[in-house]
């Protein structure tokens, strides 16, 4: 239906919510990328079949969507966050979370849990520390320490359905905003202390206000969904799992700044986000939530999706705008801010997905409420992708200011195989690596920057002692080398040279004095490059140099990689004291370089060894060592 007044919308939402409350059991099968790849669709099909067989009148929906006619790729996902133990099946209202569910368990789930209300113990999450099984999702440490605002609806509602969003109170904030003056809306956002979640951390309310103040006959609102940091997929999850929230945030922004046209720039690697957002835009147009006279008001606003072409640099605002205009995505110097002269040289507000996703809640609960979460300089919560060598990999959201330790060891559950923690990388290729001494740092914009890293968009990659920091820096430089647009000399040539030096270190070809050369060039690129990408490109080098200088020195002076990663200067050996002769490494070795018999000491044939590290990965006794 097409809503012509806010009252019609409120009535419909109330009806939907009451119908919703009547649903006795709701089975939410997570179909986020992780769970889907682990077989969530097969689980879903099996559940439907088992429910049919049991003649159960259940509402089963694939969270967030029941449409999965095509396997995986064309399927819409909504991530429940705990990717590590997927596929996840969440049963409401009992709040039971089943982990690592296989299709074979479907019948059991239907018969025991849905029909008889019994909890199946062995499908519950097991706390690795205590061995205790936890039934309720909200009591699992991974979820316990989280506070969700941007991810409020992600994985909890049927995301493709506008009705589900309305039933959960969606678009009520927009209706409220329509009763406020533009200045009052901006005032609320300013009051909230919301800062851009895309990396820059610029105050959102102030940005909106400058856009209003800028001269121009037309204004634009752009949502940056070009989430390019490797190891970060928060925005992907939000766009796929809760697209209406993003649209609502943009519409409220358009109302505040007086824009009539909006764009969402979505990364090329996220085809599902595109189809999901498009479906949501179409539904909003039909419902009178986009287009002319939104909810019967004077507000005219429409949104178009612009797909990225696979260029990290397009996450940079000026490059992104050039890309929307159909050009090569090369940044411009930002001496005139894009908020005054942005898309087609018109005043433009550009915020990222997570920032817009916070806006409805801020209007609903008031700015003051948001501000009291988090820290003085960084209000609210922040979504992170906790990945790497951490036990609980997944999508999380915690209040700003949560100590890094609580994130890595609390929510994250510590390091895989109890190996020693070495570093956590934040901020993606533009960020830096923090070491053990930073573990008690509160995670917020300013503290991370002060420690030589940055918040970035929210990737958090945990590293253990088997991660080589020279290799990590080299990895990011390689990434940036391929992603630099090539326009300015410091970035194009500087990154090439920095990478070449790191490459030499990894091969044991570094020379005394190279570190000073590396450092100087890194600093020059930092000040000399044209855009944000170039200026931050040396961060991975500088932060690892600062915190792990001894590791660089080992590569250069001793020609050794202490972590045993850089292949050219590493030799794999088996520790005779520790080897139990379990043969696991023999099976894992792709080149059949390891020989030995059961319960007898194994040996590595160095001629055949490709130093891939597969043996070290599987050894349970820490018997594979490197020199």
């Amino acid at each position: 239906m097409r809503f012509t007044t806010p009252t019609e919308l409120a009535d419909k939402s109330a009806t939907l919510a009451s119908t919703d409350r009547k649903i006795k059991k709701r089975v939410l099968v997570c179909s986020g990328t992780g769970c889907a790849a682990l077989g969530a669709f097969e689980v879903f099909d099996a559940l439907v079949e088992a429910a049919d067989g049991a003649k159960l009148d259940l509402q089963i929906e694939l969270a967030p969507c029941a449409d999965h006619a095509e396997p995986l790729y064309a399927t819409k996902t909504g991530c429940q966050g705990f990717c590590q133990v997927g596929p996840l099946v969440h049963i409401q209202p009992d709040d039971i979370l089943y982990t690592k569910v296989t299709p074979k368990k479907a019948r059991e789930i239907v018969e025991q849990t849905l029909q008889q209300g019994k909890v199946i113990d062995k499908l519950l999450y097991k706390n690795p520390e205590t061995g205790e099984r936890i039934a309720e999702r909200s009591k699992i440490p991974f979820y316990q320490n989280q506070t969700t605002i941007a991810l409020e609806g992600c994985g909890r509602v049927a995301a493709e359905s506008l009705d589900a969003y309305l039933a959960a109170g969606g678009f009520a904030p927009l209706a409220k905003a329509l009763t406020l003056t533009p200045e009052a809306i901006i005032g609320e956002v300013v009051e909230s202390g919301l800062r851009g979640r895309g990396g820059g951390g610029f105050a959102t309310g102030r940005k909106w206000r400058s856009c209003v103040a800028a001269e121009g006959d037309e204004r634009f609102v752009i949502c940056n969904g070009d989430e390019g940091d490797p190891g970060a997929f928060m925005d992907c999850c939000i766009m796929e799992g809760d697209p209406y929230r993003v649209l609502e945030g943009m519409i409220i922004c358009a109302l505040a700044v007086g824009a009539k046209r909006g764009f969402i720039y979505v990364r090329n690697e996220y085809p599902r986000a595109v189809s999901r957002l498009q479906a949501a835009i179409d539904a909003c147009r039909a419902a009178g939530l986009l287009g002319d006279n939104i909810l019967g008001s004077d507000l005219d606003f429409d949104i178009r999706i612009s797909r990225g072409g696979g260029a990290f640099v397009c996450g940079e605002s000026s490059a992104l705008m050039r890309s929307i205009e159909g050009n090569v995505g090369e940044p411009r110097a930002k001496y005139v801010r894009s908020v005054a002269k942005g898309l087609y040289d018109k005043p433009t507000v550009l915020n990222n997905v997570e920032t817009f996703a916070c806006v409805p809640a801020i209007i609903r609960e008031r700015g003051k409420w948001f501000r009291q979460l988090g820290t003085e300089g960084s209000a609210g919560t922040k979504a992170f992708c906790l990945v790497g060598k951490v036990v609980n990999t997944g999508l999380i959201e915690v209040p700003m200011g949560t100590p890094l330790r609580d994130v890595v060891f609390g929510v994250g559950g510590g390091i895989i195989n109890d190996r020693p923690f070495k570093a956590v990388q934040t901020g993606g290729p533009s960020g830096g690596c923090l070491s053990e001494e930073h573990l008690d740092l509160p995670v917020d914009f300013d503290a991370l920057t002060a420690a030589g890293s940055m918040m970035g968009s929210g990737g958090m990659i945990v590293m253990d002692d088997h991660t080589c920091m020279v290799d990590v820096a080299r990895y990011f430089l390689k990434f940036l080398l391929e992603e630099s647009c090539g326009k300015c000399v410091p970035c194009r040539e500087g990154i090439f040279q920095l990478h070449a030096m790191l490459d030499a270190f990894a091969k044991g070809e570094g020379k005394t004095g190279d570190l000073a050369k590396l450092e100087r060039l890194a600093e020059d690129v930092q000040v000399g490059a044209l855009c944000g990408l170039g200026k931050s490109a040396p961060n991975p080098v500088l932060s690892t140099l600062r915190n792990f200088r001894d590791e660089y020195e080992a590569h250069i002076e001793r020609k050794k990689c202490p972590a045993g990663v850089c292949q050219a200067i590493t030799t794999f050996l088996i520790d005779a004291e520790k080897c139990t002769g379990c043969m696991l490494c023999i099976k894992a070795c792709p080149t059949e370089a390891i020989t030995g018999q059961k319960k007898k000491l194994h040996a590595i044939n160095q001629e055949l060894c490709t130093k891939c590290g597969a043996c070290r990965l599987v050894c349970k006794d820490d018997a594979v060592v490197t020199t």
């Binding site: 001496y335 090539g486 000399v489 070449a500 044209l530």
Partner: protein
Amino acid sequence: MTQILIDNRKFNAEEGETILEVARRNQIDIPTLCHHEALEAVGACRLCTVEITGEDWNGSTKLVSACLYPVEEGLIVQTRSEGVLRLRQTVLDLLMARCPESTVIRDLATQHGQVTEYQQFTDGSKCIMCYLCVRACAKLGCHAISAVNRGTLKEVAPPFHEHAESCVGCGTCATICPTGHIEMVDTAETRTIWKREFEFVTCKVCGEPLITKAYRDYALENRRLPNDYYTVCSACKKSELSGHFARLSL
């Protein structure tokens, strides 16, 4: 009208002017490689980097490219601060490594005291990716060449790296190239550039090459010039005219 300070000297500037424009008008030397008055500035080479501050900046400074930065009241600019000189040197060192064959770059680098040697490219290219040729070609309306690929692989090339189809052989790209990278070979009859050969129109008086036929046709069509516009070279036109005036004054 605003007032700014460059190297401790006061200058008047128009609103919207860049630091480079003000400096150049007042004979203050700021080196550039990718800048040309007739073309839009892009800030690619970073050689024109200067250090700026303001009275109310609490002592903080910033390095910006002079070719792009619009002046503002009270701006204080240093064109030879320690930071500026260091960055210029690094930019030139990097360009030296990129095109060691270029004498222009080598001379500039030597002038600024090259300090660090980086891994050299060995492809023999003299292109520093300043885009001057691409911008000039686009400005003339031909779009025969563009900057293709990205990152270190970025290069100037015609579409599909074949011959430049829409090139008219005007030669502007070769003339504007600061390092002499673009190859243009002229004989009495023809010009060869971007894998294409163009026939010249010769001056009907002295017989010297005047303009390529393709460029003449392009210019006549696009600039609404009289059909006989390109028949006599400018030198001959001049002497013809002076002869004409000489006769008049007799």
